[in-house]
């Protein structure tokens, strides 16, 4: 029964991800991206990783998507953008590279299918994850903290509104 649920969630994830990369409107794509991330959260939970599933919902489908939504609102993409996206997505541009990449992709799938075994079918709860995280993986926590600090400084710097003024001063 649970295996069937896993495959249903996988189908939902694949379908919604396909729709994300083919939508012309950024907001529609974001909604499908949320569905895709939630479907992956279901798969995490079914694989026995409830903590990862919770993080997927809270951080990916919550915080990261909210960032995207804010930027979509600030960019104010309108009907003009949708028309331009339509001209950019003409099939003759991606057909040739797509066929060649599909051949390589089929080879990779063959390599993956050649592996044996199943997942353990045992849940690894948050307590086990926490003990490993603050035990042997403590350095990873510190590295993640430094990474987030650097990203915060970078985002703050990039988000400031001074670049246009400096460019106009340099060009005149």
């Amino acid at each position: 029964m649970e295996t069937v649920l896993f495959y249903i969630a996988a189908l939902v994830a694949l379908a919604s991800t396909t729709l994300v990369i083919t939508r012309l409107n950024a907001t529609h794509a974001l909604v499908y991206l949320i569905v895709s991330l939630l479907a992956m959260a279901v798969m995490f939970a079914l694989l026995g990783a409830p903590f990862a599933a919770a993080l997927q919902v809270v951080i990916y489908a919550g915080a990261i998507i909210v960032l995207f939504v804010f930027v979509v609102m600030m960019l104010n993409l309108g009907r003009r953008t949708v028309e331009r996206e339509r001209t950019w997505l003409s099939p003759r541009l991606w057909f040739g590279p797509g066929v060649l990449a599909a051949i390589l992709f089929a080879e990779m799938l063959w390599v993956i299918v050649a592996t044996e075994g199943t997942t353990a079918g045992v849940a690894v709860g948050p307590a086990a994850v926490g003990r490993a995280l603050y035990g042997p993986y403590l350095i990873v926590v510190e590295l993640a903290a430094i990474l987030l600090l650097a990203a915060m400084v970078g985002a703050f710097h990039l988000g400031r509104r001074y670049t246009r003024v400096r460019r106009e001063g340099a060009s005149s």
């Binding site: 990783a49 409830p50 995207f68 930027v71 797509g98 199943t118 997942t119 045992v122």
Partner: protein, 104 residues
Amino acid sequence: MTATAVPLEHALVIAAVLFALGLTGVIVRRNALFMLMSLEIMMNAAAFAFVIAGARWAEPDGQIMYMLVLTLAAAEVAVGLGLVLQLERLHTTVDVDVTHDMAG
């Protein structure tokens, strides 16, 4: 709590297909916002592969690497969206092709 035992290759194939879909999005789309979304899909698929590997041996290490990828994705999207905003301010478009000269 029980969990389902899925054949390893099926789960890995799903992760690979999701990664390939994200890669397709990065290559095909020229809108910087869609490229960032596709990058998120790619990172999430890679993190999914970590979780699958963790579930294979019932060890917490896969979920810890998933959390590290999650942190990386959050950092990447913060900086990336800042870059998108600057691109829109400088060129009044989110088409990445306008940055071809890389000048200033």
